[in-house]
């Protein structure tokens, strides 16, 4: 679909098996990330966001998780076909990941410096121990922590500071792609602003592409050029930031915007999406959103929903758009 994309995920399907139930976490997701681009992946709890990120690095625990199908191309090579040994060279080096919860993402028994130096010495084998240490200190300074704190342990850092350490660790080997899984969800707004600003600055400096996973539309609006909305393991709408924020098309995307209290516009009453996210072990047939959708018709209850390109680059997976597309033409 997209030839020049640097990271290309095609038709990824992931399942979990638990208590004899099959949980359909990711159902045929395709995503494309270009050099230096920031792509926001937006969705609610349990939509499959984190699973996608972990699939890219192939660090999903198996069992219970199993990648059922799909391809993940990194610069023309399919990561799914690589041997575990080759993946070691990619993890932390070409693709790095920032995790949601800085409180638990660091080993409590090693100093933060050691943990940063570790990733450096794994991937830059020509460096001596001292050089790796020196580089780790530079990384600390880069994320705004004084180098003296190299010898301190994670418990001596606040949440925001820990997240900086995690970011330093992720960027230490100058990766081409950064997978940021809710990097600021655990942080307060003022700290969130600091951390986001820092990530963006470093990203621009190194030309890193970023997949930013979040549930916060505000964060997406401020950070991403392109956006994909995920619902029940499917990408239901994608396009540029302007496409999504100015012309949200899928009923779910519109519902998300209507659910948010606005700072600028006075609304007396919010209009939430009715119902709950579907049970991933028992997904509805047809469009996964139809039981909650106010536009749902008979057509939506069965069969595959077409993925329509409503305007160039703006895709929406909804029957409603089929008509729209024809009108447009």
């Amino acid at each position: 679909m997209n030839e020049k994309a640097f990271l290309s995920i095609n038709n990824l399907t992931v399942e979990y098996t638990s208590n004899k139930k099959v949980i359909h976490a990711v159902n045929g997701v395709s995503l494309h990330l270009n050099h230096g681009e920031t792509l926001g992946l937006v969705g609610e709890t349990g939509a499959g966001k984190t699973t996608i990120a972990k699939s890219i690095l192939r660090i999903l625990p198996n069992p219970p998780a199993r990648i059922k199908g799909g391809e993940i191309f990194l610069g023309g090579e399919d990561l799914m076909k690589k041997a575990e040994k080759e993946m070691l060279d990619i993890r932390g080096n070409k693709i790095a990941m920032i995790f949601q919860d800085p409180m638990t993402a660091l080993n409590p028994l090693l100093t933060v410096g050691e943990q940063i130096a570790e990733v450096i010495s794994i991937h830059e084998k020509n460096l001596t121990k001292d050089q790796a240490e020196k580089k780790a200190m530079e990384m600390l300074e880069m994320v705004g922590i004084t180098a003296e704190r190299y010898i301190e342990f994670p418990f001596q850092f606040s949440g925001g500071m820990k997240q900086r350490v995690v970011i330093a660790m992720a960027l230490a080997c100058n990766p081409q792609i950064l997978l940021a899984d809710e990097p600021t969800t655990a942080l307060d707004v003022t700290i969130q602003a600091q951390v986001l600003q820092m990530i963006k600055k470093l990203q621009e400096k190194n030309g890193t592409a970023m997949l930013l996973i979040t549930h916060d539309l505000g964060v997406v609006a401020e950070t991403c050029e392109n956006v994909a909305v995920i619902y029940a393991g499917e990408i239901i709408e994608s396009g540029t930031r302007e496409d999504l924020f100015d012309h949200p098309t899928h009923p779910y995307t519109c519902g998300l915007f209507d659910s948010l209290p606005k700072l600028t516009v006075e609304t007396k009453r919010l209009s939430p999406i009715s119902g709950m996210t579907p049970d991933p072990s028992d997904l509805p047939k047809g469009c996964k959103f139809h039981p909650r959708c106010k536009y749902a018709t008979e057509t939506c209850t069965a069969g595959e929903v077409p993925n329509v390109e409503v305007t160039p680059g703006h895709f929406c997976q909804c029957w409603k758009c089929v008509g729209y597309e024809q009108e447009g033409k």
Binding site: Y16, S18, K21, I23, A25, T45, G46, T50, P64, Q100, D101, M103, T185, A186, M276, T277, P278, D279, P280, S281, D282
Partner: protein
Amino acid sequence: MRKFRKAANNSYMAAMNSGHERSQSLFSQVAGRLKENRGAMAGLIIIILILIASFLGPLFCTYGYNEMNMSQRFMAPCLKHLFGTDGYGRDIFVRILYGGRYSLLLGLSGALVSLLLGIVLGLVDGYIGGAFDTVFMRIMDIWSAIPGTLLSIIISTVLGSGFGNTIIALAIGSVPLTVRLLRGQILSVRKEEYLEAAASINASATRIMFKHILPNVISPVIVSTTMNVGAIITAAAALSYLGLGIQPPNPEWGAMLSAGKTYATIYPWLVLFPGCAIAIIVLCVNLFGDGLRDAIDPKMKN
């Protein structure tokens, strides 16, 4: 806040979304999971069989447990005497059957007494807290500084033999463990907001203790009590073996071992059968306890 986002992420919550018509209480869920654990069920069934056999078995046997027959001393296992006879010509099979009562009753009641003592002490401690807690934990530290078996030996020496005294001796040795476990549980539950919620709707302190705290801390204590049954059976046998606790001629398995050890080389069945009996019963208790733990806390398993 972060934590439960993650908790929800494991798709367990989502799977529950569709809503159940019928809800299972935690108890029936645990029972359900326990039934699927073959080891635990095997353990439980064997324990029940031993219990039944030890109480009903001797009624159907041709020999009494203390019936001596000097003409049939040290007989090897044969059809007449399944496990052979001892130095007084007593049938070992009957004695082992009968001795099951001691082991099981000592194990169960010892663990139960220690559980009750532990709960009373633990709840009082968790309830009062503050300075009392500090002093209390120091006492518990001293209590547990003396190894449990050692304490049981000493208490048993002081109290003398007999069933009741032995139970007390055994229970005292294992109380600190229960108290510590319970206290740790109470401390972790104390942070939960449903306790604040209970206080805000004017629930009395006793109500909070018994309706909100106790039911939520009891499962690991029950598991450890189950494991304790096994440990206490072994300790009881060890006491008898050392000449404390239940004394001969009562057919307690440890006492039988102690009496048989002199002839063990020539007549190995004297110690083989009582020893196997102890090992089997403790194994069954542990199997059941393991299963119970997995059933109560299914997260631990996968």
